[in-house]
Symmetry: C2
């Protein structure tokens, strides 16, 4: 059995209250007494029980993170950013993965919210109403998504798409296709908005190829579809699709970027390792995750502050899958 504050108190000849104060960092304890207590605690292996502490203070020192898929590099990088910042600020981290199933999210929130002081919720596709049902339950920062009245950290995908389109346009491309991802995706809508606005601006029309699974299998399908159309450039929803497409295109003997230029979105680690390396819109996932923790701390410290919606910049990274139009 682990030592309790009583054990330490007895061993030091003080009361449990003094032991508690010695550990709460702010109660006033005579310096020699504190040192004696800390030493004795160390010797006995005593640390305050988080559950007991939580019961009375109402705070657990933990935060929660809900993501659709930890095995997806986009989200594992995000989670890493959250984890690192949480660790740096001495917060414990609870993680729940919902296996890309929106309907599991409410249960995940319910199961997690009593154990944490705040929640970071990456819900790319769930309906606003589902989120709203948890308003006020637990301090929450949305990640990779915005919602009126909520705290959030998102990335400027609309501008990312603008950069992509402007770049293709300046390379002379006029017949450009877009392969979209899941239709309900919030960030997908931002991409679309950026694409629409910019295509109007530039006076180019974009051929919509439809909605694809945001993974390499979806990418294979994209490759076959795009070859059936008369386009010189492709913008893909994300790197996974682009990598899948690239692989399929190679096996069909298509030269990238000679026959077709490709730009995608995310800039995951393997984007730079493909042949040729992907030109892609860098999305600062790690930084977004860390920022979400910072915002959450603000929110937890001041629950009545007006919501902050932080938007992080994206940046086109030009590599090997784009070239001037033939």
């Amino acid at each position: 059995m682990a030592a309790t504050s009583r054990d330490v108190a007895r061993a030091c000849g003080v009361s449990v209250a003094t032991v508690s104060r010695a550990f709460s960092e702010k109660g006033s304890v005579a310096e020699p007494t504190r040192r004696r207590i800390l030493a004795e605690a160390e010797r006995l292996g005593y640390l305050p029980d988080p559950a007991a502490r939580r019961l009375i203070t109402g705070r657990s020192g933990n935060i929660g993170l809900i993501v659709p898929d930890l095995a997806n590099p986009f989200f594992s990088d995000t989670a890493k950013g959250v984890e690192r910042e949480a660790r740096a600020t001495r917060l414990g981290l609870f993680i729940s993965d919902t296996d890309e199933q929106d309907r599991l999210e409410p249960d995940a929130v319910r199961r997690i919210c009593r154990q944490v002081d705040g929640l970071i919720w990456a819900s790319p596709r769930n309906a606003d109403e589902v989120l709203l049902q948890f308003a006020g339950t637990v301090p929450t920062v949305l990640l990779h998504r915005q919602l009126e009245g909520w705290w959030s950290v998102s990335t400027d995908l609309a501008d990312g798409m603008r950069q992509a389109l402007v770049n293709l346009h300046s390379l002379g491309h006029r017949r450009i296709a877009y392969a979209g991802g899941p239709e309900q995706s919030w960030s997908g809508q931002q991409r679309l908005r950026g694409l629409m606005e910019t295509s109007e601006e530039l006076g180019v029309e974009i051929m919509m190829l439809g909605s694809f699974a945001p993974n390499s299998d979806g990418g294979s399908m994209v490759a076959d579809v795009v070859l059936s159309r008369d386009v010189s450039a492709l913008i893909a929803y994300n790197d996974a699709i682009a990598l899948g497409a690239l692989s399929r295109l190679a096996s069909r003997g298509v030269d990238v970027p000679g026959d077709l230029s490709i730009i995608s979105c995310d800039d995951i680690a393997y984007a730079k390792l493909s042949a040729p390396p992907l030109t892609t819109v860098h999305v600062p996932r790690h930084e977004a995750g860390a920022a979400a923790v910072d915002l959450l701390q603000e929110l937890m410290a001041n629950p009545d502050a007006p919501p902050v919606a932080k938007v992080m910049a994206t940046q086109l990274v030009i590599r090997g899958t784009t070239a001037p139009v033939a």
Copy 2:
């Protein structure tokens, strides 16, 4: 403020004890009473407070996972397996990433162990002594590693290396190099053992290229080193190294597998998307993660049971980076 058992009790005209029993699934409560309580609880939004429950029962319903790097696909796939199985068995999951720094692990364990009923610890490189110092602290299952007297789930990398070497040998390769990873790595030692035993068996000698960072940058270095040696095949520590090498080799105009065959280890998602796709030893990370949760549950249910060291099979997957020797 959330409703408490007292609120529900009052609303139902019963005692808190009965409410508690209605939620503990096994206490005897008259069926109509239970239904009334559950309905009222639902209405009030009552759920037992996990902290209070933990304080008295001593169990939290949570488990912990410690991994070196969540952003590394090897570990994020592992974590995903853990998460999914934990969710399936209704266990909460605490995650701590140690940023590949062994010295952070003890602190991570200490901070996590009071909040969980059991721990899954992926420590590829830390010294046995560091682990032993936590013996008996909290039910623990080691992951991707074995240690005498401990519960563990690992994968048979020695056999994986045997399969790789036998395959290269049967393709006619005799001048074979090995690019290793971190030297203290437990799984690295298993790879080495498999390589040694099999090379002796087959009567081929293996050229040791040394120790490299297990990421794509390490792979670039491997590429340059291997080109300075007279070999026809390369075995790489993991896919990240192989992918980095492949990329570098392509830019140096080396034909894979024409000039050089490559086999690596792990079979991460992007292994099949490179050009050519990687021949690699499949390591069942997801399954290993899930198995660790199962084992941990056994251990938690019966802390005095003799330790189980589960070893999962690996399997060579032949794709495009290997060919008969020129």
